[in-house]
Homo-oligomer: 384 residues x 2
Amino acid sequence: MHDVAMFTPGPTHIPLAMRMASISRLTHHRSPEFTKLHDRIHSGLQSLFATGGRILMLPASGTGAMEAVVANVVEPDDTVLVLAAGKYGRRWAELCRTYRADVRLHEVPDGATFDAAAVERALRDARPRHLFLTHCETSTGAVHDVRTLAALGREYGATVVADTMTSIAVEPFHMDDWGVDFAVTASHKGLMSPPGAAFVAVGDQAWERVRPAQGYSYWNFHILRASALESTVPNTPPTTTLFAVGAALDAIEAEGLTQVWERHARSAAVCRAGVGALGLELFPRSAPSNALTAVRLPERVRTDGLVEELHHRFGFRVAGGQGGLKGRIVRVGHIGAVTPLQLMPVLTALEMLLLERGLDRRPGTASAAMAGELWDGLAPGRAA
Amino acid sequence: MHDVAMFTPGPTHIPLAMRMASISRLTHHRSPEFTKLHDRIHSGLQSLFATGGRILMLPASGTGAMEAVVANVVEPDDTVLVLAAGKYGRRWAELCRTYRADVRLHEVPDGATFDAAAVERALRDARPRHLFLTHCETSTGAVHDVRTLAALGREYGATVVADTMTSIAVEPFHMDDWGVDFAVTASHKGLMSPPGAAFVAVGDQAWERVRPAQGYSYWNFHILRASALESTVPNTPPTTTLFAVGAALDAIEAEGLTQVWERHARSAAVCRAGVGALGLELFPRSAPSNALTAVRLPERVRTDGLVEELHHRFGFRVAGGQGGLKGRIVRVGHIGAVTPLQLMPVLTALEMLLLERGLDRRPGTASAAMAGELWDGLAPGRAA
């Protein structure tokens, strides 16, 4: 039996400190302890989103938070522009259609990023009321230039909504400075906690884009805000998960947010070095995310069952491709508690499996390259 | 510092076995381990709901599951009959209004139950497409006769939807035999687990009452069913919480569901005995639930801050009243892992506080009455 190590791009590894925090006490959500926990998470997440706006907490997965934003900002027949380059970008479009928006989909191939001039043309043509973005496209491993894209959206008067699920506490994100109105994340990504809590950051100026109350609903931001102002939530929250989030915020603050971003960048650089040394290609055409490394599976060797075998024989859980990318890519997550050194055994195990299946490399190729990258990163004055 | 003991009617105490189960392993929801966990929970909940129907699992609080049912069965302008005798009954009406139903509210005072003849008249008048019920009205402590009410609804051709949040694994409930189409519960009630997972049981015949797919949505039962048929869920589930639910189902099966119901009945009887001996009245006018004992606060003594003081000085967390019942009742939960003997210190602490505030009783009155009730329950041949 292996104690499974999670190198998936969410849910991610939950360090023992967060697991213990989640179960070491019980509380009721109508209590002073919960108020304290609420406020600690509220201010901690304001720092991570880099916003002075309000953080709404939902008992939901990340998709629930996405639907909540759509339910609260999209009115029927609103023109919305969705930038999609993978599964999660397209999810915004699906949700907006369900809420009967007039959806203009600006789509580029999976793994690609967006050309700012083309996006500006799309904005000029559509004059959308809302613009939907994805920061890290978890299905492809690409990171999108939200800063530039949000500025364009703002320029054309659109509400800017960003899926920052896999980028919060992973990559630099500056909600207020970049002009993002709504951003969402969940507990089981950079927050290193169990899945079950989702968060929506609402910019101070963004409230005027929230629809008037449509009656009682689980997603209703007016109800959520009224509770948040009283340091609580309207429905029973996943308290054990929120205790873990509180502990994760402590850990992130102790390490320093900039240092956390740098660690993710180093992990990503080290992982990419190993992949490159094996002669494998990254899936994203440019701008690979620091959250995960999506690797194109080689066509020369048999790769069926690779992800499962990595788990059964070596105890590492990585992710395969989703939807149309199933069987075409492997996604190695390095989110949250992962350190660059911890990635060496994962890539070495992957190397072993590929060698068995006929990849022509000397054993240790990946780890040697990774150690080299680490060494370069450590030496002062050299490029990381 | 007290290790807080939860005697609230949800969230409830989480035994160490369930807490440990929740954190002792990590898994991804696209994995054979998760398939196993899904199927274990699915069959376990089928037993608890007493249905051959399908169990849908949602990352949500109980209210999320309620909204999910409404979103999936209520079409605009559908006539719905809602039976309400407290906060949670009225919640069905609020949700149905949000989904633009023509809501007929059959309301009785908080704490009362329903007269079958009056309900039948309401059904005859309204001829509703759907009937919404509450099994245990957690805000008042009354249990409603779902068996009779569901049969009436069925007779008049209505879809029968029951909130069984606080009754599953607490009071007898027989979904298929009673003719209930949809029933909902959540992880943090009789399932003794952290909050964060909600469950909807859908009777086999009930699928014809589910609206055709309205597009991609977090609540969409068609999407949830397609995943359930493959032993998984569409969105990242609260896996740690589900491991706890799995452990809770093991514990419930080991004890025996009938024995679990009997234990709750004994706890309730013992708690009521203590309350009665203190000269206090139950809030429900009839049919007090076995999930919680709602006690009318005496008018003769000062009761402000009573719930908070019980927590600070004695470490017991009970609940006050909600909404209009705030300051008027105290609710002592005896759901899940609670045993009759564990209630003695709680009622004794409450007794101490009331004595200090001027209640005229001999110290030990509550516990003596509770011990007497326990004794009667233990003796074979005597009434429990």
